[in-house]
């Protein structure tokens, strides 16, 4: 009540929204009918997904030989895509967990979708380690399942095994965290639902949320605990993914800076993907009032920061490759050898998309432009894919023994599976956009007073806070009270 907010702070919710408006806005896509654009996007994604599944079944039915791999290059697009998708996932966790701990209110408009993106991206990522196996039907052997074969056990030395644990932990924690946050929103939809079937489903998935003060209290506590659990995952998952490379003996992979560099890269690419998705979503689902220029700018600032870390890592890698003077290091993915070798185009694509283009974000106008942000985010997505491709393909193409130098060319199956996962991702995301509350409305309502334009005007005009609404949301006013910064 004694709330004061600096007038220079930009509002996080635009338009003269009331609490009810928010409810309406969020519930609209779920309760209404999908528009034509949604169907077009959905069918294109579905077609891509089915094509990808076809390619996956073809691979499993025939053999990994239908990909472009060879005796000297045992991984290429498979693990590239894996790391790419895992990296994308990181932004979701960062936004929902780390920003929650840091009490960054602006995350509220985007965390739901970012987390959804995380989970869907991890689905895609998880596909690759399974299908890249020569015998995926035996894939469960990587799990430490007790068996009757005596000492037959997994190899705890293997980074791939760490991956198994890292990814599965990540997926489960993210999923629980996401679902917890969804409970009050599901309950809101449940309460509004008129169709019995819909009501049944939403009551089922809202886990009996009643909206009592106790519910809210537990909700807040669980959110904090899960945020605390998820935060180390932001660092650990990609650290472990980077161990796949860093613990190996290949020049270019065997690098001690990989863990922080991979984490920064993951956040970098994740935020780019959030930008891409929200850029589309805010238009398609009319959420312009909630996903504002300010959100875009904040995310762009994170992108500049993490992009900067990545750029420094690149420079370090390049410098070390040069500085060692080793004939083996001369051909790593960031080296003169790579720049002048057969993969020069991949080398320069990496620098262009990941280093050069994101620098545009230093310009405030571009940073706050929806269109530019969208374009740059696409560029970063491409660039980060190239980063992983370069690390894997260029390094493997120049092995220790020159007699094993080789090249990689993808087949239609490689391409098909990648496109298929993009399709699969969007199928999930589009279904999500139609059935899930895409914005954490319960949370957004908590910041309406301090950030909603309408309320600010009323405050300025009347000098008093509006009462009735505060009453409604009093129970969870906890976090708003301390919100002074």
């Amino acid at each position: 009540m004694s709330h004061y907010e600096a007038p220079i702070r930009e509002p996080l919710v635009l338009g003269d929204k009331t609490y009810h408006d928010i409810t309406e806005d969020i519930a609209k896509p779920i309760e209404g009918k999908a528009n034509k654009n949604w169907y077009i996007a959905f069918y294109i994604s579905l077609a891509a997904m089915l094509w990808g599944f076809g390619c996956i079944f073809y691979t499993i039915g025939t053999g990994i030989g239908v990909w472009g791999l060879s005796k000297n290059i045992g991984w290429a697009w498979d693990i590239t895509n894996f790391v790419w998708w895992v990296g994308i996932g990181h932004a979701g966790t960062l936004i929902s967990a780390v920003l929650l701990l840091f009490r960054q209110k602006w995350r509220m408009a985007i965390n739901r979708s970012a987390e959804a993106m995380t989970i869907f991206a991890v689905f895609q990522a998880g596909l690759f380690p399974i299908i890249h196996m020569g015998r995926p039907w035996n894939g469960y052997w990587v799990l430490p399942i007790p068996n009757t074969y005596g000492s037959l056990w997994v190899n705890f030395n293997s980074p791939l095994l760490w991956d198994v644990f890292a990814i599965s932990t990540y997926l489960s924690v993210s999923l629980v965290f996401w679902w917890t946050g969804l409970l009050p929103d599901f309950a809101m939809i449940r309460d509004r639902a008129v169709k019995p079937f819909q009501k049944k489903i939403y009551s089922l998935i809202s886990f009996g949320w009643s909206g009592r003060a106790k519910d809210w209290q537990r909700f807040e506590e669980v959110s904090l605990v899960l945020a605390g659990l998820a935060t180390p995952l932001v660092l650990s998952v990609h650290t472990i993914v980077s161990f796949d490379f860093a613990t190996s003996v290949n020049p270019g992979w065997h690098s001690t800076i990989f863990p922080p560099y991979f984490v920064a890269g993951a956040i970098f690419s994740g935020f780019a993907m959030v930008q891409t998705l929200l850029g589309i979503m805010r238009k398609v689902t009319n959420l312009e009032a909630y996903i504002t220029r300010l959100h875009i700018e904040y995310m762009n600032i994170v992108i500049i920061l993490t992009g900067g870390i990545v750029a420094v890592a690149y420079a370090t890698e390049f410098f070390i490759a040069w500085y060692t003077g080793s004939p083996y290091e001369y051909y790593t993915y960031l080296s003169v050898g790579a720049a002048t070798g057969p993969y020069w185009w991949a080398f320069y694509s990496l620098l262009l998309f990941n280093i050069a283009i994101p620098q545009l974000l230093w310009i405030k106008k571009i940073r706050r432009s929806f269109v530019w942000s969208f374009i740059i985010s696409i560029a970063i997505n491409i660039g980060m894919w190239f980063e992983r491709f370069d690390i894997i393909a260029i390094v493997l193409s120049k092995g220790h023994l020159p007699s094993t130098w080789w090249r990689f060319e993808p087949t239609f199956v490689d391409v098909g599976i990648f496109i298929g996962t993009i399709g699969f991702f969007f199928v999930l995301f589009l279904l999500y956009a139609r059935t899930f509350p895409v914005i954490a409305q319960a949370e957004v309502k908590t910041i309406l007073k301090s950030s909603g334009e309408f309320y600010k005007i009323r405050r300025d005009e009347e000098g008093i806070p509006t009462k009735p609404e505060i009453k409604v949301k009093k129970a969870k006013g906890k976090s708003t009270k301390k919100d002074k910064e």
């Binding site: 060879s70 005796k71 052997w141 004939p327 003169v336 020159p402 080789w406």
Partner: protein, 1018 residues
């Protein structure tokens, strides 16, 4: 005598207690309630199981049982009813025998399992050595596609009896008409067969025996005959030579049958000296690749250079011309003079005069290296007689032609003339093991047994006899040519008895037939040396100089280590075998120098999938045109010369996959391997090569491949910090530079107990021949994947031989001297020199003690063995390929597809006959799993078990792998270093020993010995 005795079990029973009675009465407590069920009509009627239901159940169970019975493959295994005495299932039998297919001759040991030959190894007691082709010939035995299975006449099946009758009648008629009948055979080097043929000729005096070698060494045979009066080839004791000068003689390849064993003996720097070997040649041959000094010179200049050498040595003037290499010739003359009787000059020019000149030079040198006593009898072809035969056929003077395992309709340079003239021959009989163009063109096709199914004898060198014995029952309805000839001659004897009698009468003097049969050889020794006649060098030289007509481009025809004369072109192992020099498989190609390629616009681009393409050329030689010849740029090819290998381009009868390459035989005019009057024209299109190695140089990574000179080897401390030629790797530890081997991240394995296997590879004596590659194929059931897959880098060879060319800039110091920037330096290091030095490096799983592959496998499918091996558990592998990525040697091979029982890979693992060659001790891998060299664990375990069974320790040097057994030169030595006596033990600590990439501290169990070149000029 009925007894009234009553037995009781207790007092109670005796006293007739009621309790006991009750118990006895109630022994079966309940009656089965049959009455209740059947008697009560009501319940029966109300039961839901009606008669119809009952029938339904019966029907269903019957149907289900029937359907279930349909499933499940039936694998018939038929037990021995009467077990053969000498076959124990699971135990291999070895037979000593000989191979002689007209081009390849070898004393061999054949490993059989359950009556099937599955592997061939050199019979080292008989000084036998094997090549890739000899090793692979066991698979040709099972070639059910190409082999003749039934006698046929005009492509219709007939019985043997009918065939004998009809041919016998025809022969008699021709004898009566006194029409010439020609028996055309390859070189058989078989004394008993020679005798049978002479008896056949005695029975039919109109028969003429013509020996035809597809790849001719007629010039050398005739020259030796002219000078020494023996129609044979001289041998060379290269092991004792101090200086070897070769003019295009590929004596580590197929020249005179190969001298790699002798050569390697003279290449051991431990003795303090090594032979100095200079090779003048136009193509890059295996021999040239091993030479200390290789001088490129085009074919015509090779001839002049040879003459100039004679001039330089003797001072006599002979007609010749100046060549660009005359300075080298002068130097070489000095070297030869210095080495004197320890020097030898050889030439591969198939020209009597050129061969005479070399014989004259060796005589001038008083060379003791040339061995005129133990002459070689494996090339007896008579080119003149063959050409005479064709012209006689054309003029209709030949009434009958009987061929035996030769394919003139394909291999003759004028093959079309030959087939055209066949119309004028009335009796046309082809005796052949396999279907080929000649069989197709003849009336009668008589299937001949494979050498592994045959009896026979051999005499490869004077006084060195060998026996051939069957190692398997006849697979098809075949017969031996000797039996057929005996039959036609009217003899009742079969060849086996004939052979036995012949040997006990004429060959064996001091031992038994059984002993010789067991050993496979019998050496009598020869003492009488033929006298060298004087020849008129001046006239020979002028004839030689006159026969050469140099032209802008000159063609040099050669044979490859893989296909030789092309007889085994349907053998997938050989097709997939990468050429030692170009490392291309499934192809032959026109090799051309970089300079000429630039001039004519030929390129070998590397495609994005890693494969190499090449332009096509139209090649015109002496009026014969061949289109679409793929071109490969070959470092070390003399400018103005091109090379093309014979033996490829066969199509008749071959599987479609094997119909690769172009046929160069039409260019083989007058059986001369040098052809002048050549024109090359670039045509459109790209040829897709299947090369297993793309990068040609070592790119400055000299810790992989260490080479030094004899002088340095003898004088410099190998570990010297600056000049050492075998410096250990240094790493930084605690801010100090320490030897990599002195620190360790891991715990050392305890090797005190049991065996610890190591393999030593001597880069000096390894000639790169590739016999080990095929031996490994056979031993370990390595799949063949075909050209398309090899092209994109998916060959499955567990053992490969990397070939590296030197670059103009070899080291950092060179680059610094030339003032190159770093980028320029690496570009230069990557680029091969125009006439590079060549080094071969056999590469297989290094069985690292600290293996990078072992730590990364998530399912622990690859683990470390107690005996030092890095082991691969196929059953456990899920196929993540991480191990392959983390293997710095890239020796792991992934099963991208199912390579067995798959029509897409229709090689030997897709047919019942082809599968007979599989080694039952080694599993055939399924798709999706990784595989690699196992150090032949099945064979080391068998050795251990054998010793255990016999209650003894494993003997010294008893362990072996397929590659080490196959290696003729002893470059690969395998053994147990826990046995101090084993040959490998001192090699591990030899001053030449090093581990590849030792700075990684993988601590491999494969040890390489530094290559030493002799730059001392004798």
């Amino acid at each position: 005598m009925a007894s009234n005795k009553k037995y009781w079990k207790s007092y109670q029973e005796l006293e007739n207690d009621t309790v006991v009675q009750n118990v006895a009465n109630n022994e079966f407590v309940q009656d089965i309630p049959t009455d209740e069920f059947l008697g009560n009509k009501e319940t029966l009627e109300s039961s839901s199981t009606t008669r119809r239901d009952f029938l339904k159940y019966i029907g269903f169970t019957t149907a289900a049982a029937t359907v279930a019975a349909c499933e499940g493959p039936v694998n018939k295994s038929i037990p021995y009813v009467v077990k053969p005495n000498d076959i124990i299932a699971g135990v291999a039998d070895w037979y000593a025998t000989s191979m002689a297919d007209g081009y390849d001759f070898a004393n061999i040991l054949v490993k059989t399992r359950e009556g099937r030959p599955i592997q061939i190894m050199p019979n080292k007691d008989a000084k036998g050595s094997t090549t890739a082709r000899v090793q692979a010939s066991v698979l040709s035995l099972y070639d059910e596609k190409l082999r003749l299975k039934e006698p046929s006449k005009a492509k219709k099946k007939i019985t043997w009896a009918d065939a004998h009758n009809e041919i016998g009648t025809a022969l008699t008629q021709l004898k009566e008409a006194n029409k010439e009948v020609v028996l055309l055979t390859g070189t058989m080097a078989s004394p008993s067969t020679d005798k049978i043929i002479s008896e056949f000729i005695a029975a039919y005096p109109n028969v003429k025996h013509v020996v035809y070698d597809a790849i001719s060494e007629y010039g050398a045979v005739e020259a030796f005959n002219a000078m020494y009066g023996v129609r044979a080839l001289p041998s060379y004791k290269l092991g004792d030579a101090k200086a070897i000068v070769s003019f295009g003689a590929d004596f580590l390849g197929d020249w005179h049958g190969g001298f790699e064993v002798e050569y390697a003996e003279g290449r051991k720097p431990e003795n303090g000296e090594m032979s100095y070997h200079v090779q003048f040649e136009s193509n890059m041959s295996l021999t040239g690749a091993n030479a200390d000094k290789r001088v490129v010179v085009k074919p015509s200049d090779q001839v002049y250079a040879l003459l100039n050498l004679y001039k330089a040595l003797t001072g006599t003037n002979v007609p010749s011309k100046a060549t660009p290499v005359d300075a080298e010739i002068k130097k070489v003359a000095q070297v030869l003079k210095k080495a004197g009787k320890d020097a030898v000059v050889v030439t591969g020019i198939n020209d009597k005069n050129a061969q005479l000149i070399t014989l004259a030079i060796n005589k001038v040198l008083q060379s003791e290296i040339i061995d005129t006593v133990n002459t070689i009898h494996t090339r007896q072809g008579d080119d003149m007689a063959v050409q005479q035969l064709v012209s006689n056929m054309k003029s209709g003077n030949v009434g009958g032609l009987i061929t035996l395992n030769v394919d003139p309709a394909f291999t003759l340079p004028n093959a079309s003339e030959f087939t055209g003239a066949l119309d004028k021959v009335s009796l046309k009989v082809a005796m052949s093991t396999e279907f080929n163009s000649t069989v197709e063109a003849m009336d009668y096709a008589l299937p001949i047994s494979h050498y592994l199914e045959s009896w026979g004898d051999t005499q490869f060198r004077a006084g060195q006899y060998g026996l051939m014995q069957p190692t398997i029952q006849l697979l098809f309805n075949t017969a031996q040519a000797q039996d057929i000839l005996l039959k036609w001659s009217g003899s009742d004897s079969n060849y086996y008895n004939y052979l036995k009698t012949y040997w006990s009468d004429s060959v064996i003097t001091d031992t038994s037939w059984n002993k010789v049969l067991h050993d496979g050889f019998y050496h009598t020794g020869v003492t009488d040396a033929p006298e060298a006649k004087d020849i008129d060098v001046a006239s020979v030289a002028s004839a030689l100089a006159g026969s050469v007509k140099g032209s802008k481009y000159e063609l040099s025809l050669y044979t490859t280590a893989g296909l030789g004369d092309g007889k085994q072109a349907n053998n997938p192992w050989l097709q997939e075998f990468p050429d030692p020099i170009t490392r291309a498989s499934w192809d032959n190609y026109l090799s051309i120098s970089m300079a000429d390629a630039n001039e004519l616009g030929f390129k070998n681009p590397v495609r994005d999938n890693g494969a190499i393409d090449g332009n096509y050329a139209t090649l015109k030689v002496n009026g014969v045109t061949l289109e679409n010849v793929p071109v490969m740029i070959q470092p070390g090819q003399a400018k103005g010369s091109i090379g093309l290998s014979l033996g490829y381009g066969r199509t008749v009868g071959l599987k479609e996959e094997m119909q690769v390459g172009v046929n160069a035989y039409p260019f083989y005019k007058d059986f001369n391997n040098f052809q002048f009057d050549v024109s090359i024209e670039k045509t459109s299109g790209w040829h897709q090569f299947a090369c297993t190695q793309v990068q040609k140089t070592i790119a400055g990574r000299h810790d992989i491949l260490k080479v030094t000179t004899l002088k340095e080897y003898l004088t410099v401390d190998p570990k010297d910090h600056h000049h050492g030629w075998n410096k250990p790797a240094y790493v930084s530890y605690d801010h100090n530079e320490v030897e990599a081997n002195s620190i360790d991240l891991w715990d050392e394995h305890n090797r005190e107990m049991g065996h610890h296997f190591k393999l030593s590879i001597d880069l000096n004596t390894c000639t790169g021949c590739g016999a080990c590659v095929v031996a490994c194929h056979a031993e370990n059931n390595v799949p063949v994947v075909g050209k398309k897959e090899v092209r994109i880098g998916r060959d499955m060879h567990w053992l490969r031989i990397d070939r590296y060319y030197s670059s103009e800039v070899e080291t950092r110091e060179d680059a610094k001297e030339q003032g190159l920037s770093r980028a320029e330096m690496y570009r230069a290091l990557e680029t091969e020199a125009e006439n590079p030095e060549v080094t071969f490096q056999p590469m297989m799983c290094q069985h690292c003690n600290h293996a990078p592959c072992e730590t990364v496998c998530p399912v622990a499918a690859t683990t470390h063995g107690r005996q030092g091996q890095n082991q691969m558990t196929y059953n456990r592998c899920v196929g993540t390929r991480y191990c392959a990525n983390n293997c710095p040697y890239r020796v792991r091979r992934f099963n991208w597809f199912n390579y067995s029982n798959n029509d897409e890979f229709d090689y030997n693992m897709n047919s019942d006959y082809g599968k007979m060659v599989l080694n039952p001790d080694v599993v055939v891998r399924s798709r999706g799993v990784m595989e690699k060299c196992s150090f032949c664990i099945q064979s080391t375990q068998a050795t251990i078990l054998q010793a255990k069974k016999e209650g003894r320790a494993v003997r010294t040097n008893e362990f072996s792998t397929a590659c080490s057994s196959a290696c003729s030169t002893g470059a690969l030595v395998f053994g147990d270093v826990n046995n101090k006596e084993d040959a490998v033990t001192p090699l591990v600590t030899d001053k030449r020993a090093y581990g590849v990439l030792d700075y990684l501290q993988t601590k491999p169990n494969v040890i390489y010995q530094v290559k030493v070149r002799n730059t001392n000029e004798a």
